[in-house]
């Protein structure tokens, strides 16, 4: 039998490389997390990655809310967010002056988590996306702007045709 040529082997190599190994089951990740660090109960959700961003968003929101609560936001002095009772909490009316002007969603990752069988017997591909949604609000009178970002994690089911 003829020996395959270098080109034929390279072509086969490329074809093999185009195949993607099947994703491990999600439970395996949890098991590894537990074996590496027993306290790490469920890192699979990736919530830890979002914590700094969520904290930053919360701080921005708090500072901005307090700033708007000080007479039309015209104060020239710096405003510091504190938990002191002297600070008047923002009222619904004050916050509602802000009008949404822009919203942008940045998708950071999209993971294929394999096929799942739905209750009706059909199959779907599970896609988990992680994104950050940026919001821009504006006060029409003072033109003051509030920007904040929220982390999101969505799970999408994409229907798969069975042949």
């Amino acid at each position: 039998m003829n020996q395959p040529t270098h080109d034929e082997l390279s072509s086969l190599e490329a074809e093999l490389a185009s195949l993607r190994p099947a994703q491990p089951p999600r439970a395996l990740r949890t098991r590894i997390a537990r074996s590496i660090e027993p306290q790490a109960a469920e890192p699979a959700t990736g919530l830890a990655e979002w914590r700094p961003l969520a904290q930053a968003a919360a701080v921005v929101l708090t500072v901005a809310t307090i700033a708007f609560s000080i007479e039309g936001g015209r104060s020239a002095t710096p405003v510091v967010a504190t938990t002191s009772k002297k600070e008047a909490p923002a009222t619904t009316n004050e916050v509602s002056r802000l009008q949404p002007v822009e919203s942008v969603q940045y998708v950071l990752s999209a993971d294929n988590e394999g096929m799942v069988e739905l209750p009706d017997g059909s199959f779907a591909r599970l896609i988990r996306t992680r994104s950050v949604q940026h919001f821009e609000l504006e006060d029409p009178t003072s033109r003051a702007r509030l920007s904040y970002a929220l982390p999101r994690e969505d799970v999408l089911l994409v229907a798969v045709d069975a042949f």
Binding site: E8, L19, R31, S35, E37, P52
Partner: protein
């Protein structure tokens, strides 16, 4: 666990988890055993490098996986016996080794490749998986399998040639070739 450390091993898992599981499934026929080996590989590597490790431990993960297999008493002999069973009954492996490919025609080819890959000897499959999907160098493959670098390279080429021959043999066979084969004697006895 500090977030940075969790992030680090999560990155290892994302980048190498699928290839490690594929490699483990060349060593053991049982998908549960394969997952145990992957878990053990991560645990050993994490203990070895610790949280402060900055380098990508790809090669070390594969090495630890194979050592875990050896430590758990998976001898070459029993492995071969299992692999023979595995090759004859792919349903025992816990599903496809690779992600489905679309469209359907392309997925047929994927299944064909997977079937021929499964029919190769374990040594050939291991070296193919480590090179193609593990993305290891021949030197790293040699360390992982405890064979000389040159042996790893020649074994890889031989495995590719063998796979190519099997694929071309199937492609060149006439679609109804099996009909020209003589009928088994048992059938002839009952239906002369």
């Amino acid at each position: 666990m500090p977030d940075a450390a969790a992030q680090r091993w999560s990155t290892w898992y994302r980048d190498h988890g699928p290839a490690l599981l594929l490699f483990a499934r060349q060593i053991t026929s049982c998908s549960a055993d394969a997952e145990d080996l992957v878990q053990e590989a991560f645990t050993r590597t994490w203990r070895h490098l610790g949280e402060g490790a900055l380098e990508d431990p790809k090669s070390l993960l594969f090495l630890n996986l194979r050592r875990a297999a050896v430590d758990h008493g998976r001898s070459v002999r029993s492995r071969r016996e299992r692999e023979t069973r595995w090759a004859s009954d792919p349903s025992q492996t816990g599903g496809s080794l690779f992600e489905p490919v679309f469209p359907f025609v392309a997925d047929e080819r994927r299944r064909e490749l997977e079937g021929h890959l499964a029919s190769l000897p374990p040594e050939a499959r291991e070296v193919l998986v480590l090179k193609i999907w593990g993305d290891l160098t021949f030197e790293e493959i040699g360390r992982t399998l405890e064979i000389p670098t040159q042996t790893a390279a020649s074994r890889y080429r031989a495995a590719l040639e063998r796979l190519h021959r099997r694929l071309t043999a199937v492609e060149s066979r006439p679609a109804h070739a099996h009909l020209s084969q003589p009928l088994p004697a048992a059938i002839l006895r009952h239906h002369p």
